[in-house]
Amino acid sequence: MSSAQFIDTAPTGNLRVGIDMVRISRIRESVEQFGEKFLSRIFTPREVAYAVSSPACRDERLAARFAAKEAAMKALRLTDRGIPWIDIEVARESSGECSLALHGRALQHCGRYELALSLSHEGDYATAVVMAQRAAR
């Protein structure tokens, strides 16, 4: 019988996680109700361009990106820092993998963090998980 091996998982204070889930239909309602004002306040031009490049997927893409920004705000503890949503961008690699890019005030506050992102959607829900690891000095 093999013996189990346990990894020391005691928190060091350097690793943080954030999660968020949104209803895709509610993001669609925001787009319909507030239009360009909603898009430009929340999403970067690149994010909008990617989302609208497939009209059938627009709302789920926007919803996943909104969830990613909120998950990043939680992981990086930025909810009371006055950070605009467009300072946190979901970047999409040619391979299809997504990552987070920080800009402006978010970068000033959290430039020392390495970030990992996972997105998912099913039915009317989109969700995102962000892991943040503070780099060693």
Binding site: Q33, I42, E70, M73, G82, I83, P84
Partner: protein
């Protein structure tokens, strides 16, 4: 516009956009709106509706959870934006 008129307009926006589990008209000015069911996404809709209603724009430094936390904090933020 009186304080009570403004508070009434804030409550109407919360009713229309806040997706609260409680009646916006029955909330006290210091009651936590997130505890009352407002999600982060709903708070964005509330912010955009406030901007349209009061003809203001919330600058980056006011994009904080605690600015939209209560009716009182929203009212204080609108005070600041309108310079009153």
């Amino acid at each position: 516009m009186t304080d009570s008129e403004r508070t009434a307009r804030i409550r109407q926006i919360l009713k229309d956009h806040g997706r609260l589990s409680a009646d916006a008209a029955a909330l006290s000015d210091d009651q936590d709106l997130y505890q009352a069911g407002m999600t982060s996404h709903a708070s964005v809709n509330v912010m955009l509706a406030l901007e349209g209603e009061f003809d203001v724009e919330f600058p980056d430094h006011m994009l904080k959870r605690n600015v939209f936390n209560t009716i009182g904090s929203i009212s204080a933020a609108l005070d600041e934006l309108s310079g009153t």
